[in-house]
Structures are given as structure tokens and as C-alpha cells.
């Protein structure tokens, strides 16, 4: 017999971050089993899509797909399909073929024996998604990184697993990319991108996803702010207009991907947000906070 107030929350290091999973409103044994299974879904996405694991689909694609078509897992294929669709709809702003630029900046490692790849904004167009989960790259310099979308996808898969257990509510949070289900709204506190020790606002979400991203502020190496790990494909340089962005959407994969578009396009991103029925909050580098009008009710600024 379930006790309504019962709640289990656990955390594991996965996806290069700290993944928290919460289950509520079921027997303890059921919640434990649900959380174990949800962590396994996240671990599976990590194994398939990590840039850092030699035998991930992403690493195999980067090594071999320019030589011959490479078969990938159905999950990897789904993420690639979404990335291609986003690339098309965003007129090239969302770009998974940015890994070579990130490698050149030292933000992604270069595997042994992998020579520096040429950086070319048109590389994305040579990614071909074929029949039977096969993928081919038309150019040897294509290097993909799913870092801008796979974390959100992992959150969605884990949440789907939790839902399958018939819990009253559940929440999955992968380092700020999160999604929840259940009748009660969940309150999420968001850090100020310039000072992560401070809370900037709280946001309420119900049956939806939220993703946040910020420029990197590396206080160890310099008092100056550094660029972000998000590259504007048009310039090949880190974005610097927006300090941080939070996006609400139906799926965490979409919220995750849209934060990248908002970081690059700033307020211009509104057309893509509307297209995907998403809301956003952004903090521009001049300190102003902007919120899409459909979202005021849910965002409570610290002021």
C-alpha cells in the first residue's frame, strides 16, 4: 500500500554530470526498481552517445562513417534525426558537426591518431541518414558531438521509464536539464549565470521539461569572463551576447537543443521557440532579463 508522502531520490554521476532521479507515490520497492531502471536508461544513452567513450555510436561514426555506412542504435538514430530536423528548421544554427571546432579550442579531446579536422560550416550537410539505422558522412572531416541534445534525450527516456512504473510523480534532473510528471507542480531554482552561488529565480513546471545553459565563467584561470562552450556556426566563435538561458518545452531534448539556439540568436530565437511551443528566459550580457510573454505566471524573479 503506497504512502502518499513517500518519496525516494537518488543521484549518480552520469553523462558527465550529476543525475538526480526522484520517484514518489508508490511502494518503496517499486520506487527503487523504477529509479534503477531509469538510471539504466541514462547510462545507455551515455554509452551510445558519449564523445569520450571509444566504442560509443558517436565515436564509431566519427572514426568510420566517412569510409562506410555505420549502423547505430535506434536511440542514436532518433537523436540524429532530431538534430537534422533542428538544423534544417534553424537554418543551420543548431549544428552537431561542431566537434572539430570544440576540439581545436580544447573543449573536446582529440583521440590518439585523430588528425585535426578542417572546420567548415557546411560539413553538416554531408551527414546522411540511410535505411536500417545506417549513417554515412560524405566528408572525412565531419566530427559530431551530441552534447547539445543527448542529455535532454536521456532525461526524456528516464522519465518515460519512471512513467511506465505507474508512480504518482517523478523527476529526472541531469545537471540542470530536467523533466517532471505528476499532478503537483515542481519548483526549480535557477542559478544566476554570472554568479552560480546566487539564485536568480524559481520556476514552476508541471508535466514539462526545463533546460538551462550559461556561458562559462572560468574564475580560476582569469578574472575575465571566458567564452562559452557554445559556438556560433556562422562565425566559428563562442557566443557572447547572452549570459544564460532557460527554456521550457514539452520534451527535454527540445528544451536542451533550444537553449543552444537562444544562446546563439538571443531574442531572435523567438520564432523557433514559437515553432516548438516553447518558452524561454534569457539573461543578456548587459544584465537584462527577458521572458517570453507566455511564461510570466511560472517565473518568479528573485527581485
Amino acid at each position: 500500500m503506497a504512502i502518499a508522502s513517500d518519496k525516494v531520490r537518488r543521484a549518480r554521476p552520469l553523462l558527465g554530470t550529476f543525475v538526480e532521479i526522484e520517484a514518489a507515490g508508490a511502494a518503496k520497492s517499486k520506487m527503487d526498481a523504477a529509479i534503477d531502471a531509469a538510471f539504466e536508461a541514462v547510462a545507455q544513452v551515455h554509452r551510445l552517445m558519449s564523445f569520450h567513450e571509444d566504442d560509443s555510436d558517436v565515436s564509431r561514426l566519427n572514426r568510420e562513417a566517412w569510409l562506410r555506412p555505420v549502423k547505430v542504435d535506434a536511440w542514436t538514430f532518433r537523436v540524429l534525426e532530431a538534430a537534422v530536423e533542428l538544423h534544417r528548421r534553424s537554418k543551420g544554427i543548431f549544428d552537431i558537426a561542431i566537434a572539430a571546432t570544440l576540439q581545436n579550442m580544447g573543449l573536446l579531446p582529440r583521440p590518439d591518431g585523430d588528425p585535426p579536422a578542417a572546420v567548415d560550416g557546411r560539413l553538416f550537410d554531408s551527414i546522411e541518414l540511410l535505411e536500417d539505422l545506417m549513417v554515412r558522412f560524405g566528408h572525412r572531416d565531419v566530427r559530431i558531438d551530441l552534447g547539445g541534445i543527448a542529455k535532454g534525450f536521456a532525461v526524456d527516456r528516464a522519465l518515460e521509464v519512471l512513467r511506465g512504473f505507474g508512480l504518482a510523480s517523478g523527476l529526472v534532473n541531469a545537471g540542470g536539464d530536467l523533466a517532471a510528471f505528476g499532478r503537483e507542480p515542481q519548483t526549480i531554482h535557477i542559478r544566476h549565470p554570472r554568479d552560480p552561488r546566487r539564485l536568480m529565480c524559481r520556476v514552476e513546471i508541471t508535466d514539462e521539461a526545463l533546460a538551462s545553459t550559461a556561458r562559462r565563467f572560468d574564475l580560476l584561470s582569469s578574472a575575465e569572463t571566458t567564452g562559452s562552450a557554445i559556438i556560433d556556426p556562422a562565425t566559428g566563435k563562442p557566443t557572447d551576447v547572452i549570459d544564460g538561458a532557460t527554456v521550457r518545452a514539452g520534451s527535454c531534448m527540445m528544451a536542451d537543443a533550444l537553449t543552444k539556439i537562444v544562446m546563439i540568436c538571443g531574442t531572435e530565437a523567438i520564432e523557433w521557440l514559437e515553432l516548438h511551443n516553447a518558452s524561454a528566459l534569457l539573461i543578456s550580457s548587459d544584465g537584462d532579463v527577458r521572458i517570453t510573454p507566455d511564461w510570466h505566471h511560472a517565473v518568479h524573479l528573485a527581485a
Binding site: 549518480r12 558527465g16 547510462a43 540542470g176 542559478r191 552561488r197 546566487r198 537584462d288 527577458r290 521572458i291
Partner: protein, 156 residues
Amino acid sequence: MTWARYSLPAAAIVSITSPAYAMQYLSIEEAQKQAFPSATHFTEVQPGRVWKAEAGGRVAGFFIFDRVVGKHLYIDYAVALTSSGAVHSVEILQYRESYGGEIRSPSWLAQFVGKTSGSALKINGDIRNIAGATLSSTHVTEGVKRVLAAYGNRLR
């Protein structure tokens, strides 16, 4: 649709007190059961730090409690090693920080599953570093590396 604009004065940001934050996920006993559900008992090999998990007279693996410094305060975690000394799972037991942050999201790092003491653990290498958590990630990476070096080959 147009954006609504707010000016957030610096003072307003500062006026929010950073709460000390502690999240207790699992006790040592709970984490032991999670890591080795089939184990019938846990023998303390090193007091408060290392346990041997046994299932029906057979060694199922080892459970090591460790603590690293996060941004400012300690993070307690447990590494479960298989009987052959590979990482079976890493579970966070308690997280403490002196700032609020995304309260549901104390972000820090690393993927350790399958690492053995022979494989290198490094920031920006096989373990990804993420924005704003450099101190935590460095210390966690060092923590698991230390656990593997100390116990990976020794516990059998």
C-alpha cells in the same frame, strides 16, 4: 510574440541569501543494498570505509565509502567494485554545498562505470568537464582515481 524585459538590479541578486544546502540521498547501509542486492552480508574490511559484499559464501564485490570536497563542502559517495576490481557503480550518498544553485541540480561530474585502475581518469579527457563545476569535477575525478589505485588491485 515579443519578449518582456526586466532589469534585475545587482542588489536584488545579492539580497538572496545563499542557503547551505545538504541533500541526503542514501545511508551507507541503503547504498550497500542498492549496489549488491543479492549480498547476504557485508563484512567491514576497513572500519567505516571498505566492506566486502558476500552472497552465499562467494565474494560479490567491494563497497568503498569516500568523501571529496565539492565546491566548498564535502560530497559523500560510494564506489562499488566488482570482485575483479572494476567499477560496478558510483552512487552519491550525500551532497553538501554552501550555495543554492539550481537546488535540484548540484551539478558535478563524471562517468566512472567500467573504469579499472589501469585506465586514466582525467578532466577534459574521458570524463567530461562541465561549466561552473571545475573544482567539484577535479576532486571527484581524483577521488575515484584514488579509490581505484588504493583498492582496485588489492581487494580480491
